[in-house]
């Protein structure tokens, strides 16, 4: 080893220097990033810029070079990114408040413009978020509360996307999609009144159900009574006169029988009474 070093000192140093030079010149551009090379703050080259309908593996990703110490490599995400917002209170055209939260998906299609206008993705997000907020407010505020809830059905989301997209392109970004993630009633009066309405709705429903139950019960009873009357009529109608007699006998039984509470009946019978007919003997 010692001898190797002694004899090839220069060679070794040269090789090492070469390796260092190569490594500081070449760099790898990955599939998921685009690269802008800045020379003295001015963009000179773009590597692996996003193009639609490019299959992975056939993009500009790969090894690229720079001039060491002179060129500055800025790496920018090539993938679809997420722009989130904080909840926004939107007033509908029928004066109802709604807290809306949406997201936008965007990607950077012009990395040079993006580096010049916004420098970093974070900055870009900071620029776009207020735009998204105001576009959303404008577009939804033109609609009734009910239409806000079903914003996907109409042109609202398309309009919002197009508006945001138009402004995002100023920064070299393209907006792919905007979606409403949440629609909530604001705390306080709107939420309370919704709860109250739900409660009274249910109270009304409960009252209706109970009333229906009562009504059904009445009908069931009446039907039974009617049906019983029919049964009686069919049976007793066979001979009304006999029924009169038969029922009278039952009635006497029920009325004059010795009752447990000691109430007693007193009869004063006339000799003409039918019951005593035989009592008087044959005449």
């Amino acid at each position: 080893m010692q001898t190797v070093w002694e004899n090839h000192k220069l060679t070794i140093i040269a090789v090492v220097a070469l390796i260092i030079a190569v490594l500081s010149t070449l760099f790898v551009v990955s599939e998921e990033e685009q690269v802008v090379i800045l020379r003295g703050g001015e963009p000179v080259t773009v590597v692996n810029r996003f193009k639609p309908d490019q299959g992975f593996g056939s993009t500009g990703a790969g090894v690229w070079y720079r001039i060491p110490l002179l060129d500055n490599v800025v790496r920018i995400d090539k993938r679809v990114m997420d722009l989130e917002m904080t909840d926004q209170q939107v007033l509908s055209s029928d004066q109802q408040r709604l807290l809306v939260n949406a997201y936008a998906r965007f990607r950077i299609i012009d990395p040079v413009r993006m580096v010049q206008r916004a420098q970093t993705t974070e900055n870009l997000r900071r620029q776009l978020e207020p735009i998204l907020n105001s576009v959303l407010r404008q577009e939804l505020g033109r609609r009734t509360f009910q239409a806000m809830l079903t914003a996907e059905r109409g042109t609202a989301m398309t309009n919002i996307r197009n508006n945001l997209d138009r402004q995002a392109r100023e920064y070299g970004a393209q907006v792919i999609d905007v979606r409403i993630m949440r629609t909530d009633l604001p705390e306080g009066t709107p939420l309370e009144s919704a709860f109250r309405r739900m409660e009274t709705d249910r109270e009304r429903e409960a009252a209706t159900i109970r009333a229906e139950g009562e009504r059904d019960a009445r009908i069931i009873r009446a039907e039974a009574d009617a049906s019983a009357a029919r049964t009686y009529a069919q049976s007793f109608g066979q001979d009304p006169q006999f029924y009169d007699f038969y029922r009278a006998m039952q009635s006497y039984d029920a009325t004059f029988a010795q009752r447990e509470d000691g109430a007693e009946s007193n009869f004063i019978l006339s000799p003409d009474n039918e019951y005593l007919r035989q009592f008087r003997g044959r005449r």
């Binding site: 080893m1 010692q2 001898t3 070093w5 002694e6 000192k9 090492v16 260092i20 490594l23 551009v29 998921e32 593996g57 790969g62 090539k78 679809v80 990114m81 997420d82 998906r105 809830l149 079903t150 979606r179 949440r182 009633l185 309405r197 739900m198 249910r202 109270e203 429903e205 409960a206 159900i209 109970r210 229906e212 059904d216 019960a217 009908i219 069931i220 039907e223 039974a224 019983a228 009357a229 049964t231 009686y232 049976s235 029924y243 007699f245 038969y246 009635s251 039984d253 004059f256 109430a263 007693e264 009946s265 007193n266 009869f267 004063i268 019978l269 006339s270 009474n273 019951y275 005593l276």
Partner: protein, 364 residues
Amino acid sequence: MAGKSPWGGNPGDGENNEGSGDQPPSDKPKGPKNPWLPPSSGDDRRSANIEDIFKNRGPEGPRRGGPGGPNFRLPKRPGGKSWFPVFVVGLVSLGLLTTMVHQVEAGEEGVVKTLGSYSRTLQPGIKVTMPWPLETVQIENVQNVRQLTFPADGEEKLILTGDQNLVNLSYIIRFNIKDLSNFKFQLAEPIETVREVAEAAMRASVAEKTLDETFSGQGRAEIEERVRTRMQAILDAYRAGIQVQGVEIDKTDPPTRVVEAFKDVSAAEQDADAARNRARAYAQRVLNLASGEAEAFDRVYQEYRLAPEVTRQRLYYETMERILSQTDKTIVEADGVTPYLPLPEIQRRARSSSATPAAPAEGQ
């Protein structure tokens, strides 16, 4: 390997001089000292980072003291040669081995990037690629069905329904990766995207239903299906490389604030049923009584028809017997005789109990 001196050790004389092992590559009359090398302690298991090595070797690079104490000596190697080449070779081959040979398990796939550019997807098995930094491999399970639970924090999350009511709804999204290269390269945050798409799809689908529909099994099934198709359409539009396997609504409840009112509806249903049942019991009683009485009359009447006069007489006498045997009777015999009513007797009874002087018996 990082931080090791690439200049060789002493030429085989076995003299391990103490030194930093970090001689600058300058013309020095004496050879560099042999760097004492520590026993590998996971140091060589880390894949070497070329950048690190050269950063420290550059002309302005920082000097780094070799690891280990200044008095540390390695035992001599048989043959008296330096340990250094052995370590270098060992580290390099270990690095090559770990970055060249990849085991892709069943259900997994791996994306290979050649110098940053996507080249191919590895299927399960033992696969060999070019070593780092020429090729890198990322392995992901594509068959495992992953789950996302909403709401994530388990708190009450109210969603507005189409009739502007609120429903407390929790659900699960199951998905897997259907195209690994898209999953890796198309979206910056694929899982986060699935989560947000799911929320948006669920919100939109619930807004198309009334509150009562969300409570019904059929309504829930429809929402699940709508969410699944919506999500799949959105994710496909993003080319996310994700397959939504299923959406399951776990529960749909009224908000806790108004749950009492909803319970009262159930109670009302119970009450209504109870009222109906009581009425049915009454009906049963009335109908049975009627059919019983009718049956009894029919029986008697059949007998009566066989011998009307006699039966009638018999019934009459039997009834009178029953009645008059249990009551006081006074018979007034002769015409024109003022009937004597034993009033004191009656009054005496009236004192003990309420007596009923009865009129001559009358039918109904």
